[in-house]
Symmetry: C2
Subunit: 335 residues, 2 copies
């Protein structure tokens, strides 16, 4: 085998189209032609648009046969994806009654059947029904989600009654629903987050959309109201009021968006946005795939990977994200 | 609703275990107890080991019912995973004959049926059968894989006859097989790469193992043999020989490994290793999920995402990774 054949030439300037079939050629000419065809293939592969048209006819025919075979494959694959979706839907239906039972127990709508030994009168008089803070604690035991939850957020997240997920009608993406009990923070009874996917198998996100949260006045957890004391000797005695974005799990419902014109942003901004969108999708997927199907195991901590237990302690301690500037003080709630 | 209830106290020092049921209490005492129970839950949730044992009995019973329900869910989920695996296996079998046809055409073992118009005699005399460089070009059209392939690698990768994947027996992971025609680089006829997974759904890798490559003498693509000219005036006239690791796709078969004792490595090394293992898994998954099922579409470029086409040109130009130090020269092959 000649050295020449081993080296693949990737020069950019191979000349005009090659003849379809070689005429009578010397051995050396033939070897050159073989190499020229191969180089040509490499060059064509770089310019996909004209690739098929410029292939030598005999190779083009073989490629066309491969494309026919690919068509048969794609048909089978479509059938596979359909059957798999049907299988998932079938089991989603089977899971439903179990999710409903969980909901009723967590929210104290039914008592656990084997609870007969506990004095129900006393029990209820302590205002203690269901499992308090079930969803908040389940989510806090997942390291990735815990990082998003500030101490302030916990006040509102304790009112979570249920978290559900469902596929979108066209099977391209999924929706999360967070159901809230009546609470002093927000008036929405359900917050949704919808992930529209281009390809779910390849995890290619089209966009993510969240419910606009209706905060009660002064209760927003995604903004802080800061009052600045007027300077000493100033005539104006009213404090200067300023609102400021702050860290909060509830930003999950106002996810990062790609700008209309993607060309407008520079590379650094694009990378930051990409990483924010990935993190947002990661949180959504974790809630869908881990928390919802196994919530009680997260609540008890049984689902926590051994490796994470230690790290989690650290997260707890510095996750409130309160970085007030010294000259500002946080407004207390008026209620 | 009192302010106190809204604020979740996460102090670390809640006292001894709480009484199982409250005795007769004033309204204020009751509210305190409710808060104390909730705080206790938070504290317990941090220390998973004793969590269940330390729960107040009424809540413990509810949690136990949830755990029973979870057991039923897990059983259903196991059934789902089994049925899904069976579905995948069924279709893998249906794909097989199509993969075989592709193999025969790519390697010129059968001619495309509708190729009658081409003069077969001339065709073969040009040494041109099958589709030259099919797998190399298919892989090079994928941006992530193209980054791994150096110009030197192309010499060997052009001999690829087929690339296959299969699930491992226990369904925990998968195996890639790269079939090579007789070639002047390596004597293995097949190189395999096996990914053992702890959880495939969650993409948790246990380890990755590759075939040891039997390079022909002086033909290794993962090492360079460098000769240093002896210093002028030196008595020794023989060049100093040095081998050096170099960039190559073939490192794919010698993937990064976790050390036996994970505690031995520092954080920085651990992060680097993590990112290398992720990248390695990414390449393996891309070959399995994208290249193998749709190889002809990658070969023609039809599978290349529009966004990548531009970027790819740049990759082509600087992917050979040749950073020789000036005083060294690369040894030419002796053959």
């Amino acid at each position: 085998m000649s050295d020449q054949k081993d080296q693949v030439n990737t020069a950019d300037n191979v000349g005009s189209d090659l003849p379809a079939a070689a005429a009578v050629l010397s051995a050396e000419d033939r070897a050159d032609l073989v190499n020229a065809i191969k180089n040509k293939l490499h060059d064509l592969a770089r310019d996909h648009s004209g690739f098929l048209e410029k292939l030598p006819p005999n190779i083009r025919k073989r490629v066309d046969v491969l494309r026919e075979i690919q068509g048969q494959y794609d048909e089978l694959e479509g059938q596979f994806l359909e059957e798999r979706a049907a299988l998932e839907a079938k089991f989603h239906k089977l899971y439903e009654p179990l999710y409903n039972k969980r909901y009723e127990i967590v929210n104290g709508m039914v008592e656990a059947e084997n609870e007969g030994t506990v004095d129900k009168e006393t029990n209820e008089s302590a205002g203690d029904k269901g499992i308090p803070h079930f969803w908040l604690l389940a989510m806090k035991n997942n390291e990735a989600i815990a990082k998003e939850i500030t101490e302030r957020d916990e006040g509102a997240l304790q009112y979570l009654k249920d978290v559900k997920w469902s596929r979108l009608e066209d099977a391209k993406g999924f929706k999360l629903e967070f159901f809230f009990d009546t609470n002093p923070y927000l008036s929405n009874s359900v917050l949704t987050k919808t992930y529209h996917m281009i390809s779910e198998d390849e995890h290619i996100l089209e966009n993510a959309i969240g419910t606009e949260i209706e905060w009660f006045p002064g209760k927003s957890l995604t903004q802080k109201i800061l009052k600045k004391k007027p300077k000493k000797g100033s005539n104006d005695t009213k404090p200067i009021i300023k609102t400021e974005e702050c860290e909060s799990f509830f930003h999950f419902f106002d996810p990062p968006q790609l700008p209309e014109d993607a060309e407008e942003i520079d590379e650094e901004t694009a990378e930051l946005l990409q990483s924010q969108m990935e993190q947002d999708y990661e949180i959504g997927s974790t809630i869908r795939e881990k928390i919802i199907p196994h919530a009680v195991s997260w609540f008890t901590g049984e689902a926590v990977p051994i490796d994470d237990e230690e790290e989690e302690q650290e997260v707890e301690e510095d996750d409130d994200g309160d970085d007030e500037e010294e000259e500002y003080y946080v407004e207390e709630n008026d209620e």
